[in-house]
Amino acid sequence: MKNTISERIFDFLKNYPPFNLISNETLLEISQNVEIQYFEKDQIIFSQNDNPHEHFYIIYQGSVRLYRFVENEKLMLDICDEGDLFGLRPLIMKESYVMGASANEETIVYGIPIALFHDIILNYPKVSQFLIASFATNTREPFSEKHKGKLFANVSAIQKIEHGFSEIQSANYNKNPISCSPDTTVQTACIIMTKNIINSIIITENDIPIGIITDKDIKTKIGTGLYKITHKVSEIMTSPVVTFHQNISVAEAQIKLLKHKVSHLCITKDGTNKTELVGILTQQDLILTQGNSPSLLIKEIKNAKDAETLKHIRTKASELTKGYLEQEIPIYFVTKVISEINTAITKKAIRLSVSEIGKEPPAKFSWLALGSQGRKEQLLMTDQDNALVFENVAPAEYNQVKNYFLQLSEKVTEKLHIVGFDYCPANIMASNPKWCISLEEWEQQFEEWITDPIPEKILLSIIFFDFELVYGDESLYNKMAKSVFKTIDKNQIFLSFLGKVTLDNPPPLGFFKQFLVEDNGENKDSFDIKSRAIRPLVDGARILSLHHNIRVNNTIARYEKLMEIEPQNRDLFESCANAFKILLQFRTSQGLANNDNGKFVDINNLNKADRLKLKSCFKPIKNVQEAIKLRFKTSQIPQI
C-alpha cells in the first residue's frame, strides 16, 4: 500500500549515517515506525538519570543541547543539529541516561524504535561501528571514575561483528592439502605432485606439518644434482613451515607471505606449527582473489633494474590502496601492506645505489625511516624523512667512511625522489651530513636533545624518535633505540617539554562544534587534517610510549599497547585508536581523490556524513590532550 508519509521520512533518513548504510527495504520498515516529536525551545527531551526511552533520536529540524550535571554544576557537552543522533545510550546498554537533552530552539526529532535496530546492529557491521563511534565520542567524560571500563560492557555482540569483518574478506585456501611422510622418497613425492597437479607438497608427521617441498626445491636441489630422487623428502624439505590459523583474511595472508618471503602458508588448527594441518594457502590463491596483489608488486620491485620501474610499481601500489579503501579493508592492514611495499622500494633503491657505486660499504650501517614512514602510516606519497647510522670507526677512517655513506645516501634519496617521494623541505634526509653519522654521534645527539629541550630540538626529537630500521644492521638500530629510552628515563622533565609542544595543536572544534578552519593563506576555509587531527593523536601516542618504554612506532599499535599497560584508561586509548583509523582512512581517500597528500580538507565540499564522521574524532583528541596535560604537568613548563 502506498504510504506517502513514511516515504518522506525514508527520503530524509537515507541522507544521514547510519541510515544510508541500510538496505532500502529495511529502512522503509524503520520509516514506517518512526515517532515524530516536536519540542519548544528549552523543552526537555530527556533528563539525566531518566529511564531509557524506547527510541533513539535523529534531529529533523532545529538543534538539541546535551548537558550533564556534575556536583550541581550544569556542564554543556554538545550541541547537535540537523541529522545528528542523540540518546543512543539505551541502544547500547539498558541504563538510564547519563546526560540530559533539551531543545536549543524549536525542534522536531524523529524517534527511531530501538527494538527494530537490534537486528540491524547484528546484520550491518558498519552501522554498529558508526553507532559505537557516535556513542563513544558524544556520551562521556572519560576521566570520571564512574564510567571507567563500562563503555563497551554490553556490546559483545557488536564486537563480535567487528572481528567477523575480516572473515567477510577471508582468503580462500585449499582445504584438502596433499601431504606425505618424512620417509617418502623425492621420486614418490614428485609423482604425487604431478598426479595432483600441485606445485608443493607438505611433509607431515601425525598430521602435524614439519616441512614443505615446492617446485622450486625440485629445481634447485634435484635438478642441479645436489640431491638424488632416491633421497628422502625430509632431507630436502624447507622446515619449519610458516603457519596461520583458519580465519585468515586476504590482507593477513598477504602480510604473512610478504614478511616471511614465502609462497605457501600452512593453515593449521590453532595457527601454530604444533597442531594439525587443515589447509594450504598459496600466493596463487591470493592472486586469484585479487588481480593486483602486493606480493606481485614486491616481486616486481625485487626484479626492478632502475628507479623508473620502481616509480611505475609505486603508482600501481596507489591503485591498490584505492581498491583496498573501496573494499573497506581495515586501514590497519592497508597501512601494513603499503609500508611493506615502501620498505621494499627503499631497500631496492639502496641495493641499486650500492651497485652503482661499485664498492661495498666500508662499515656496517642502518638505513632508518623517520616520521610517518617510520611509524608505517604512510599511505600516500609524502616527503621522505630518513637518516643513516654507521658503526663507530677509528678517527683516521672516519672521513672516508662518512663520504661513502653520504654518496650512497645522495643516490638513494635521488631515486626515492624519482619514485615520487619528494625531498624533505627541512632536509631531514640521510644525504644531509648532519643526519648521516656514526652511532656514537647519534647517541650524543639524542642526549643533547633530551637534556636541553629547546623548541628546535624538541621538534627534531619528534621526528627522529619514530625511527624504524629499513635496511642494514639491526644491532646498530637497537643500540640507538636503547640510548633514547635510557636518556629519557634519566630526564623525565623532557617528557613535560614534549607534552607542551604536543598540546600546541588544540582539538579542531569551536564552541558550537564548528570546524576551526585555516583563516588565511592559500588553504583558507579548508581544514588541516594532518596538523589538527592526525598529529595530535600521533604525538599523544608517542609521548605516552616514550614514558612507558614502549618500543613500537605505529600509532595504532602504540595505543593498543597502552590499553594493555593502563587498563584503567582503556576506553580513552581505544577511542584514540579508532579515531586515528578513521582519520587516516579519511586523509587517504581525500588524498587519492584530489591527487595530493590529503593534508587539507575543503570543509564546504564535505557531505554531512563525512562531516559527522570527522567531528566524531575530535573528542578523543581533546581527551588525550587533557590526559597529557595532567600527567606531564605541562602547565609548569614555561612558554617555549
Binding site: 502506498k2 504510504n3 506517502t4 508519509i5 520509516s31 515506525n33 518512526v34 515517532e35 516536536y38 529540524q61
Partner: protein, 220 residues
Amino acid sequence: MFSWFKYKNYQIFWKEYSKKFKQKQPKSFENTRFVIFDTETTGLDIYNDRILSIGAIGIFNHNIDVADSYEVYLKQEAFKAETVEIHGILKEGKLTKLPEAQAMEQFVNYIGNAVLVAHHTAFDIEMINAALKRMDLPKLRNKTIDTGILYKKLEGKKDSHFNLDVLSSEFNIPKHDRHTAAGDAFITALLFLKIVSKLKKERNLHYSDLFRVSGKEGLM
C-alpha cells in the same frame, strides 16, 4: 441500491465503532489519541463531489506515530478534469483504488473514537458523512478540532481565512507532498503540535478549550 446482505455488513462495523464511544473518553491531551486527516476531493460541493483519497496519521502523548497512519485512494465514477491539477489523482492511475464503501469501513475502523483533527475540519467531515449516508449509515460521532480555528485563537484573529500554505510557511514546516491527502495530513499534524504547544505555553490551555469554537464564521 444496496443489498440487504451488504447493509447488514455495514451494520456490523458500525456497531463496533459505536461501541467505542460507550467507554469513558480521556480527559487530557496526553491520554487522547488524535487522528489528523485530510481528504482530496473532486471539488467543494458536498453533495455532488466525491472523495478521491484520504490520508491520516495518529498523535498520542505529543508524538506523531508514523506506524499509526492510514492512506487510501478511492474508486469514483465522478471525475472532474479541472481539479486533477490540484490533487494529481488520475481516474485510471496506477494507484490501487478501493470502492468507496470499503474505504469508509477501513477508515472508520482506523479512527475509532479518536479526536479528529483537520485544517478546516467541517468540510472533510461533511464529505465523509456524505459518503456514509450513501451507505445508509449515520454521521461520525468523533469530537473534532479545526487547526484553522486553533490558529485564530492563538493569534486572536477573527475573520481572515488561513490556508495551509500560509500557515506552514509561518510555522516553518517543509511543504513536501502538498495536495496529497497524506502529505497535507502530515503537515497539519506538525501544525497542530506546534500550535497546541504555543497555546499551552501562552494561555495555560486546558484540554476542553481545544474543542471550544469561538464565533460561528463560515468555515468554507
